[in-house]
Amino acid sequence: MRCDEVIRELAVPSGAMDAAAVKEHLATCASCAHQAEGFDRLDRVWEDTRPAEPSERTWNRLWQRVTLAADAPATLPLRPGHRALRWWFVAIAAQAAAGVLLVFAPFRTSPQNAQGMAPAPLASAPGPVYEFDIEGGQTLFLEVDEAGDHVVCKPRLETTQELLALDEGENAEPIAVAIWDMKFFNYMESMATVASPE
């Protein structure tokens, strides 16, 4: 029995393969046994976290509502008039001004921060809230360090392009990390202990 046949049977069981033969193969092949263990872990995580199946009654009610909604006449979005637009503009401008103040105020009070991020005083209870919007293929790193009586947060983003550059042997800076891919995420998740509901 070949390894790929065993792994295929474990991944998508067909029932056509002799279970005893599979068991025997796993007893003698460390690589397949390791993968089988990973499959088992993944199954356990899935079993412990899968959403509950809705009842037939719930399904029927849901479809009834979907049908009603689909048959209902389309509603056009409300377009604000000029007066409303003016108020929207004032509200947005006020929000933007508040945003600018929030972003730039810490810089003025923290000249020692070379990275441009505001240090959070250790003594203050919640500290500042940093906000990040990540795109697909980007990896966010938040480096947290204590500098005197402050906590300094240095964020950096690494992109898939940098990872590719490293793979091609180019001198990519910062040193890109080829581990932050889906395989790593899947593996870490499969090793996890499932936290019990609170």
Binding site: A120, V129, M191
Partner: protein
Amino acid sequence: LLFCGLPIAGLVALAIADSGSSKPGPIKEAVLYEQVTIFGIELTSDPKTIDPKLVRFENQLRKFRPDHGFKLRAVEVKRLAQNDSHTCDLGGGIQATTTLLGLDPATGKLDLKFSLRVNGRNELTARVKTPPNQLFFCEKKLAQGERLLIGVGAR
């Protein structure tokens, strides 16, 4: 009284009128559930250290931190509903908490709040909008050149 009362009365009237005209009733928004994973890898000062559980990714980890060893401290996964949180105890008084704030239907990104606490003291709070299936990281410097790499992902 007239100044305050009229707008409030108007709003109440609008609410009543709206509730009466909403048959068969709006479809309730689907409840958001996402599975959140939090893990902590200690980057030790001894480069020879490699946790057996991390051997599979040893080459990649060594590219990331060539001068460190790697020891898995904790990895936990939890299914969260909107506004639920999960705290992962990473040892040494360090706790990482992730809260599922929501999902942006326009971009498909998850809205997460990440907090790092050390000995009960908040060191970092970050709100991260991220596509699902994508990890982000927090690297906390420890004593004697050691570090703790905390990974967070949701899907």
